[in-house]
Symmetry: D2
Subunit: 370 residues, 4 copies
């Protein structure tokens, strides 16, 4: 079978999740091309060497520039902080690689657009990793909507709630620096909810917004006083979709008890759907059935459910990292067929424009077009 | 024991709920004054006569004007559609009665303010019936917040979802006429969520808003073609509170499967609360408890929970109409002590101003001050 | 309309629930005969006088013997402790009254059989108040089973869990005396689960059982040392049904956090049902629907659901005492049609025989026939 | 770092789960010895060759006898059907290997005891894979019980419900043959619930039981008529524990909608716990907290929860196969410290004795000692 050689840039949280996905895809699914975990890249030599050993990469490197230039590498997988996506992606595109990039595509619209232009100009396959699209329950939701089970969609209600910043003693990490992270809850987690909104309901045309920062300064990670928090702690928006639906999308890191509560509810003319990432194996579906109507909880673990043919018997649930495995699986299929997978960099640009509009609306105190 | 003579204007949905409350309060609670169900008033003689018999009123009448003037009547309870609240309340105030009024206080801010002026000018006790404040679980939520269990409140997330208009064949009833109902989901149900927001979090200072009508015309109730729907099917808003909290408040009648889903979630610096009217005997509370932290479901049916000393042993739940009984109970206590109960007409004015600001914001496409 | 004069014996917990039912039935439903709350009976003059005033009875009395003899009384409603059911019911039957009796019918099978013989000999209408049969969600469950939606029933899994005896300082009240209560969790709450099993699945033919008492002595209610607990704290059983189904039925007063958790699950060849009294407005239903299968939560508050035509719009839930109102409603209908209602004293005898078999099986350490 | 060479016998469902565990342990945890996936064994050459490639084993073999004799192999991991555990384990013990065996240890008590004797006689480390002990939420439950948070345990309520045999067209597979599977729901799934009971509550001393087979014959897997179902479809039991607690343990493959519903509830004198495998990242805990008491849902994904330090940030859930990874992790730790891990073959014998007693009790129709 044909092999594809993968280079992974970044070896922390996302690096670990992507490594696992590349490693597991061929164990659990019939892949059309076999991924080879060639090289993992990071700035800290000791760290990346250890990661290579743990996560099963043949080699490690401290220079992404060098790795991107290597002939034998087919796929560049970008798992670094948002501010470095642009240079890596441009170089990877110039080298004609398949470019696979963690979300958010970039920290601003301009960078995202440059990345899209680059992959298009070089005719590269490109994919953005919005892994939650490939939660089986979410993929089932998509299928139900596409099959018309909800009728005409009227409402999207997305909330992505976390609580890791509630404690004011949590330090001012890089995710709270504007230059590195671009924004706070907005780019980090509202982006997920916005991507799901676009995926499941359609394009967003205009927004009203509110960004707020509750704790304005936090301890420096290395000690020695407080540093300013430069990004939003919470982001709230009202949205209008092209197809006439309306919605609210909200994200915060200040919701005690909500560890990773990425929830959406969709109401259509014929039914409703609800999903919550903390119970990611379940999809709630309502359709009208007379006196027997009610929201049903579909445990999306049957072989008839998306991606579940690869895993375990019904009722044996899967976890967070499996969503990356599904994403990598579909990327491998796209590579084999030389077809552009989704979501791609164009989705990245579009989602970035939604975030940008929310930020503008928060400043202008008006509705803004996307 | 002292008695208070009550006259009830209106005998439909709310008339039935209020009748029950007046009848049940003294059976289940130790009331300081005894309510006497004197007279029920309605325009349709046959209908109101039947209601009097069923609901236990001594008399019936077709003239509220006449009843309001009666010397022996102590309390005027207004349960008619919103456009008639003003004249009845003004007359009741002029006659020096205790004025008890169903929400919304009026269909617009100007009328609401006239009503408030009238009861103040005549030194009447006045109360607005926002019954959900007196769901035991909600009263418990209030107590927990007042006790500081949530710390500083940062987020309010209110959604009031119903589905009775999803079917486009539902006729154009009076609730869909602007002259009678004032507005749609906004005044009818978002008003509940806004009242709870004000009650539990604090005053709202500014809003962004979006009103929409999905089904623009519906069959005339008496047949013979379509009539225009003049009010909103859905109302969405972003809100800022005086104390720095932020929120979303949304109401719709187009959420299939959500029969009467009045839900809120509140996140503070020390904990979170969630409530859903469809499971109104339960309150979800999160506080930080180390490895044992989690949202707990308090079944608010113990004698230590608000109002539950009057009902059944723990675990024996109560229903919708009990909230009116609690409201009447507190009104009776206020009458006995000659103290102004809450919520009152001032709350009605303030909540109406929030609704008004949402409507203005939807038109102006800007944030609007309340 | 024809009236029926009711006498209620007992004015504590059940007396209050029955009073409310007699009072509310005609307010919320179209009753074919009108109940008149004639007289309430109790041993304590002050107590019963107060109850009469609170609960709306025309008169009170301290002699059930006298009241049972009164010509104008049509219905004798027995709400006293189990050991007194026999003499009252025999007298009421002898007097030709309609006899309505709280569960358990009696404290043992022999007494229950005498009561059944008496009402039959005197050709009286008789009804046993197992109110949970008339929870709308339970009545819906019955309808679904009768309609064949579950296919052939294989499993019944009934648990009635409470926690009011967990604290060893709770005194040795009458419910813990064998002579008054007959048994403990067995007769008080397992009887409910057994009645629902018989109602929903069919007759029970044999059982294995285990009774246990965790706290063997408790403070005397009037102080002055400990008294022995003479009844079971917990009762567990395996059961076989006539139709081939098998089941477990368990009751305990030692389940912390389970205030009134009367839950059952039924599995058939085509589907499953689950119910929990603490969320008594909900019924969970599973039927096979391919990839969209899942337990759905039916909020049994629509007008199409049993008994809900009398109450509120969809989504406005009802509470514990409403189940007594429904029971009284059906008794009134039976009286009007002169038809024997269900459950009746025969059900009482049969359920008592199940309890008796569980007790025997616990002693013999063998399976016992009912 | 020291390495241990592993040989895995069996490559189907459990073989896949164990392969994954051996592969993943060192990626996600700091293992004290490194497992080397040496050889996987199966009877079908093509099948096992493919499995070796997919699951990452260096070699494959069709002879377990040969592999067990190999000098360099340190661990024999037995994942074959129950009837073959005995010979493999005896050979592995004789060869002085670490013996790791899937549950049930054997198909009957005598075989289980021989296996235990063998590992003891040869001084081998031995471990039984009851993976559900190492669900983080279950391990947290164990910790809470050991810390006394529940007080004295009174009740265990275990139900393991599946639905894969509801359809009578499901063929008569090996799991329905007595000679291969030993028993049906009893050994396959009730054994899990019994192991958890023993782990969390204590040893079981006596039982009452009921086994039943609803569908007595099924299509032969290869076609050509019906074959008898030789094992139980459902197994129900009442149990007494050494420490005075009582319980019900039930398993069935005939509960429509329950895909893999391994649920338990434990009630103690100070609190309660509940767990359900279909939501395996959650543990429900009740402790008495006055008016704020309620079952809380602990999302057991924090780094303070057992095993979660190896995985993802809070709120990112894990799945079924992770429980095997945790089991392998603890086996590796035990190997490094040369300490006997738990559960071991002695647990296997004890659990098998419980199953045996249930079977005897079902036949004798009496309580039986374990």
């Amino acid at each position: 079978m044909k092999k594809v050689n993968v280079a992974l840039i970044g070896y922390k949280f996302m690096g670990r999740a992507h490594s696992n996905a590349w490693r597991q895809a061929a164990s659990f699914f019939d892949v059309p091309v076999t991924p080879v975990l060639k090289v993992i890249v990071g700035r800290d030599e000791a760290g990346v060497r250890d990661a290579a050993a743990r996560f099963g990469w043949e080699e490690h490197s401290t220079s992404w520039e060098e790795v991107v230039r290597r002939e034998e590498i087919d796929v560049i997988d970008i798992c670094t902080p948002g501010d470095t996506h642009l240079p890596i992606a441009l170089a990877a595109a110039a080298a004609g690689k398949v470019v696979f990039c963690e979300k958010p595509l970039a920290n601003n619209v301009a960078d995202a657009e440059r990345m899209l232009e680059a992959v298009r100009a070089n005719n590269c396959l490109h994919m953005l990793c919005h892994n939650y699209r490939r939660v089986p329950a979410v993929a089932l939701a998509k299928r139900l909507i596409d099959d018309g089970r909800l009728g005409e969609v009227r409402h999207y209600r997305g909330t992505y709630l976390q609580d890791w910043l509630v404690n004011p003693e949590v330090p001012r990490v890089w995710r709270l620096e504007k230059s590195k992270a671009g924004s706070g809850a907005l780019g980090d987690i509202l982006s997920h909810s916005a991507d799901l909104a676009r995926h499941l309901v359609g394009e967003i045309t205009e927004v009203a917004g509110l960004l707020d920062t509750f704790v304005k300064a936090r301890p420096a990670p290395e000690g020695g006083g407080l540093l300013p928090v430069e990004v939003d702690d919470a982001a709230l928006s009202l949205v209008r979709f092209e197809n006439g639906a309306v919605g609210t999308i909200e994200a915060t890191r200040f919701a005690p008890g909500r560890r990773n509560y990425n929830r959406f509810e969709i109401n259509g003319s014929r039914g409703s759907l609800a999903f919550n990432l903390e119970r990611m194996n379940e999809l709630e579906l309502y359709t009208e059935e007379g006196p027997e109507s009610g929201f049903r909880t579909i445990l999306a673990t049957d072989p008839t459910h998306p991606y579940m043919e690869g895993w375990w018997p019904p009722g044996h649930i899967i976890g967070y990292e499996h969503t990356f495995t599904h994403t990598v699986l579909d990327l491998l299929r796209a590579i084999a067929e030389r077809k552009q997978p989704k979501p791609d960099f164009e989705d990245g640009v579009r989602t970035q424009k939604v975030l940008d509009a929310i930020e503008r609306a928060s400043d202008s105190r008006r509705w803004e077009s996307v």
